[in-house]
Symmetry: C2
Subunit: 303 residues, 2 copies
């Protein structure tokens, strides 16, 4: 069953003559006649009959023409299917974020609502593997240290946070009494670092480089909540992001005075996914949440 032949048949039902159909479809009457003949070849009963000098549909022809209308509408819907997928504000948006960002952003994202249906996932992976996550998630919230190689050009990047990394100390620690710290202060401290390949490691290496000697890495803990607990227990000091670190009464953050260490938190989206309006709006919500997060923290510091 060829949709074009069906369309010709339907048109014949509406217009009542081969010539009129030909005019409507911008072809010659001969073409229409041949299409009808081809359609007839695949049908055991006559679909058309001559009425005077014009050609009209038989009952069977009308039955088939009615089915042809359904075919045409289904095709039209297919034509629009991609566009509707792009513009549907209630579409499903899959968001992935590394642990600490997930802990901070996901609750606020769910509260902010929006029309999109959200599928959230936490994904803590090595820095190089963040872009690959965009295969399975519409929005990937990733992080990397300042001065590390930028995300590949194949992904669309939306900056969310530019977050200083402070030194986390237990409240009783001698350095905790100071307002800020220098590289020399922390260079020889026992450190709690992250697993090899994970983003914050680069920042710690920058500190070691500035100090001129390797850092004394005691533990390797990726999860900030766990790391903070180990800091509180006196297991060492650690780098922690200023805005998204877990808040504990027995751990304080102190900025580094003489070395700029910070990380960037970005939303990675494949360019084609960024065409979906539900993705765009969700991305906007995430960006707003991040902005408020920065503002609130800066206000608190200033106050």
């Amino acid at each position: 069953m060829d949709p074009r032949q069906l369309a010709v048949l339907r048109e014949l039902g509406d217009r009542g003559s081969v010539t009129a159909v030909a005019a409507a479809l911008f072809v010659t009457p001969s073409a229409v006649s041949q299409q009808l003949a081809a359609l007839q070849r695949s049908t055991p009963v006559p679909l058309t009959e001559r009425r005077g000098r014009t050609l009209v549909l038989t009952d069977a022809g009308r039955a088939l023409a009615a089915a042809a209308a359904d075919v045409a509408t289904a095709l039209a819907r297919a034509e629009r299917a991609v566009d509707e997928h792009l513009t549907d504000p209630r579409g499903t948006v899959r968001v992935a974020a590394f642990h600490s960002a997930a802990a901070t952003l996901f609750p606020r994202l769910l509260q902010a609502g929006g029309d999109a249906v959200l599928e959230l996932a936490d994904q803590d992976v090595e820095q190089a593997r963040f872009p690959a996550l965009t295969a399975d998630h519409d929005i990937v919230i990733a992080h990397r240290p300042d001065h590390s190689p930028p995300w590949p050009a194949s992904t669309s990047v939306t900056p969310l946070l530019h977050e200083p990394l402070d030194v986390a100390l237990p409240v009783g620690h001698p350095l905790a009494a100071r307002a800020d710290l220098s590289v020399a202060d922390v260079a020889d401290q026992p450190w709690i670092a992250v697993q090899s390949g994970y983003p914050l490691l680069g920042s710690l290496e920058a500190i070691a480089a500035a100090a001129g000697r390797p850092a004394r890495i005691r533990h390797r803990i990726n999860d900030f909540t766990v790391a903070a607990a180990v800091v509180a227990a006196g297991g060492g000091i650690a780098l922690m992001p200023r805005y998204t670190a877990p808040v504990r009464p027995d751990v304080v953050l102190r900025p580094l005075r003489d070395l700029h260490v910070a990380r960037r938190v970005d939303a990675l989206v494949r360019p084609e996914r960024a065409l979906r309006s539900s993705v765009i709006s969700t991305l906007g919500v995430v960006r707003d949440i991040a902005r408020r997060l920065t503002d609130a923290a800066d206000t608190a510091v200033t106050a």
Copy 2:
């Protein structure tokens, strides 16, 4: 939007690789790849993406594939549309009959029921125009005198009645006292005939030919009910069909002894219409009604 391309896309969603799709559709992977490329050309967003060494659908591709399923079902329905039209027992059947047959058959046909939806119409036309009525009616109940040219071969003919034509006389008429009549008895009577071209005229001409002299035609009345009333009023005698003539207490029918005049009542159906099961079953009902009509009349005569 080409349904074949859509089918390939859908198949890719189900099977997950170009090679599998090619195997399912009995073509080479190259053909599949080219069809997908062609479909992609008409779409602004990627429909497929490489996952490892196979090709999978993107979200947009899945959206389009879902629409493609609807297209496929619509096409399948179109494929079956004609067949369903043929086999639907509840289809509409349009029946036309000349006046006297309509008066006799239509009430019985409606009572007999059947699943078909009936559209009844009375059509009294000249003999030659009965076949043309099959253009507008599925079943045309027509009549013609014996020995008249048969119906054209393009129509399928179902004999319903072979009905003798008797002479209708008013009860007080001298000839009404006899059990049967001869041509000589009636040749010189004043006749009530039908309009020129209508079937029963041929039978009256046969009587005139047998008598060797033209009939004395006083009136020309097509409707038997009207003709019977005129006979009763003494306006003349008339030929009337034995089974379907209107019954009046003041009119009697007497057979002709020495000349066989009769008419055939047939159901005319176009061969392609005779494929519809609703038409077939209705035709069967009509034939049964006609058979019972003949049996009942013959029994009454014998008794």
